[in-house]
Symmetry: D2
Subunit: 280 residues, 4 copies
């Protein structure tokens, strides 16, 4: 019998980092969570315990902190590229490096009618994300948003679906549509103003979510993806995952009350999960 | 040997509720989590399994949903009072009812430069809370904020503390002060515009957090509490809990780099926990 | 107007600790999470930023690690007492010290029919807990169990309860009773073999849970508490908290199927919460 | 510009289910969490809101509960196959169905020296998992274990690794190796006694973890995978993911104490993540 290492990867996850950039008139504050994964020729390591080709995950972590000092970290896509390039260059045993960064978004606390120079609070529950994958052939940059929570109380229906012996869901032309969007998109090149593009994609997603006449989660998800691809030629594809966070109408007739789509139970589980990748 | 029931309480926790108020020109959206606890003469129930004095927790839940239809739910303090009064009135076996409500805060999604009429997203990670305690003597109303995350990168020090053989913390006149404030306050009466007061307390807390010359978490916590009591005579006392969410300076000297208070590891555990109750 | 500090406490939470005791023929492995809280005369600190009476929470943490080296940590109640006594003795500004310890329970991995000497896996999802409160008058020792998950599929009913206009729960003489017990008890003195007592209390709780003819959660909770007090005279009181983790019967009649108490949806929220303190 | 749906899937996640099998002399208790995902020709749905090809995720949920009544659910692999076959057969629009099941493991509470007939407690924190993927060509069955937490305090080192300018990790021949194994394996056919095989794989993993002379996580992970493939010819490949849950040695020298590998801080983040797929 012959046993083979078909695939392997290793790295460091959840490296948490705060960077304070001390400008003359204000501080800038960034909070990132970085993950790094290596692939390469590690058969001797797995099979025989040969560590001479292994850069420890502890060193990956140290590198993140050192680079946080050495580089400005304005756009997380750039920081992910700097880390990826470093690891590929210095480690010939690697065939692939992937760096994932999630940024917690902070805003300045309002004070005296203006944003305060050195005090901050979270800008919302969503995260800005970036992922750079580097091989000997080059680097691919993805950006994304995690946990963009949105809901609509009008303009969303779900009708004309298949009915089988286990179907009990009533058709409806008016339901609450609530979700927490997770989205990633891929850039065709790296000569991109990553910050403005990220805000532009977010705006396109929100605008489409708000105005789309929704016949299903699938229908609205596709419209959101298409809106992004139509807006930016530099984006080659986009993947969207939308859990359907059901709000169930409460049966108040048991108490002699009518529920005109007013009182709901928001549920966490089970949840529908709708996903697609759309490309040009 | 004699065994006695020294204290008892029972109720329903985590009753999740969404209310959509369908106005002519817009929808209003509220999301609440309600908890209810009863105290009273339940000795026969605990000792002998006599259920004739027990209103089931399932009925408490149903009552929340029915009342969500019957009442407008504009201020959660009022809704907590309506529920408390109902349970006390209809259940003579009760000596005490406590209703806790946590409100997830939502804002309208901006669309075309204006807030959209029927689309929503979270307004931040904090929750507005209310707690009403009712007895045969009357009701007491508390309000609060959970998880008000704030941080400062300037104007915060910690010096001149006790040094013992296990002390290694360096004194500092410049550290990051990060916390997630949990606060509750008690009203002296119920003739209060609960919404404006809640926003006013939140503003006083934030303003004091931003501008206080902080010598310790304790020092700033007290200043925040005092600011609220000074602003509102109708508030008799305030309790604040502030975990110290430490940001640790990374030692970059190992890599020949200087870290001028720029690169930190934000840590979740262990954390300092500073608490006080301040009254007039 | 006069503003007063009505209550204050501060300390360190979630100090995580692993201790490996290297015996000649085996290793012993302990994993603890320690919390420490101080009360005392800290008015000048809160009001004026005077830190000269403050032992930093960082020093509390260091003390835990140093004491983990200096002491054997066989029973967490003893370790909590050692820490409490140290802080009280060395810090005259304190009126009260509370040390909470939660122990993650580990067992040896079976290997070749025997427990292995140096390999471990969790012993279950529950935690053993201890809490020592020390003042200038002395120390009180509590022990406990967190998250003791148990369920019964027979011998549990809930009937003859109050019906009001919002009651829809059917009476039942046969339901699933599922809970995650949280329990703490107080010792009358400190000359206790803490380990055997802890296991004895746990056994009494489990045995009573299994054999009690349950007419309600309240009824069974009380029987469990009484069984502990009857077994150990050195325990003066016991507090039990039992969330009712409802398993809801699925309505299969919609599919032409009968559900004879076979198929359920286990739910996390909302949940009943039943609590009592029982003393002799 | 032409925009295309490159990939899509939809389904229901986190369908929670309890099944009580009422035998003459005892009850059997199963707790499952089921997820279902469909792939197929849904372009008209995504692009145009045509729902006529969509079986609602609510119906998927209902089907799980109905099948829980209709089938015995002895092995989750079989239940996943029954669900997969049903959906494929009745829905010609599908190209692929995937059913994932995670089983929470329960054991009988000991009572009077024997396992009790109708009372249960968790058997540990791990989950048994199964995944069946069905297409028009056939079904593939995978089994697995989630969250198998194990640790060793002896026989584990990490030496001779790459040192670069950011390396500070000391080489060690004696460290704590702690992890939470996630593993899935693929069967070559479906004529397998799934229960005994699952227990056999688990035993092979544990035995290898305990006895392997570990030079790295990679080294031990591979040995564990190989042991499974050597034991069962009906398993074609196995994927293992092992987070390295670091226990950091505390520096006690600051307090004049020596730490001979006795006192550690167990950390959750950051963590190493080591993964591989091994096949024959």
């Amino acid at each position: 019998m012959s046993i083979t290492l078909a695939h392997n990867n290793y790295g460091k996850s959840s490296v948490r980092l705060v960077k304070v950039a001390r400008q003359p008139d204000r501080h800038d504050f960034k909070q990132l969570t970085v993950g790094i994964q290596f692939e390469g020729d590690f058969e001797s390591c797995y099979k025989y315990g040969d560590n001479t080709r292994i850069l420890p995950t502890d060193t990956m972590k140290n590198t993140v902190y050192a680079f946080a000092k050495l580089y400005a970290i304005e756009q997380i896509e750039d920081f992910a590229r700097q880390l990826t390039e470093h690891f590929l260059t210095d480690n010939p045993q690697l065939s692939k490096v992937r760096v994932d960064i999630a940024e917690d978004l902070w805003q300045r606390i309002p004070y005296g009618g203006k944003p305060h120079a050195t005090s901050f609070m979270p800008a919302g529950g969503e995260q800005r994300t970036a992922a750079v994958t580097g091989t000997r052939e080059g680097m691919v940059t993805e950006a994304g948003i995690d946990n963009l929570v949105v809901l609509r109380t009008a303009g969303s229906g779900f009708e004309n679906f298949i009915h089988d012996p286990f179907t009990t869901l009533p058709e409806t032309e008016d339901r609450i549509l609530a979700t927490a969007v997770k989205v990633t998109w891929t850039y065709t090149n790296d000569d991109i103003p990553f910050g403005p593009y990220w805000h532009g994609v977010r705006e396109a997603l929100l605008q489409t979510f708000v105005e789309h006449e929704s016949k299903s989660v699938q229908h609205t998800l596709y419209a959101m993806a298409a809106a992004v691809l139509e807006r930016y030629e530099d984006i080659s594809e986009i993947s969207i995952s939308m859990p359907n966070k059901h709000c169930l109408l409460v049966d108040l007739s048991r108490f002699g009350l009518e529920n005109n789509n007013e009182v709901f139970v928001p549920t966490g589980e089970p949840y529908g999960l709708i996903e697609a990748r759309v490309k040009r």
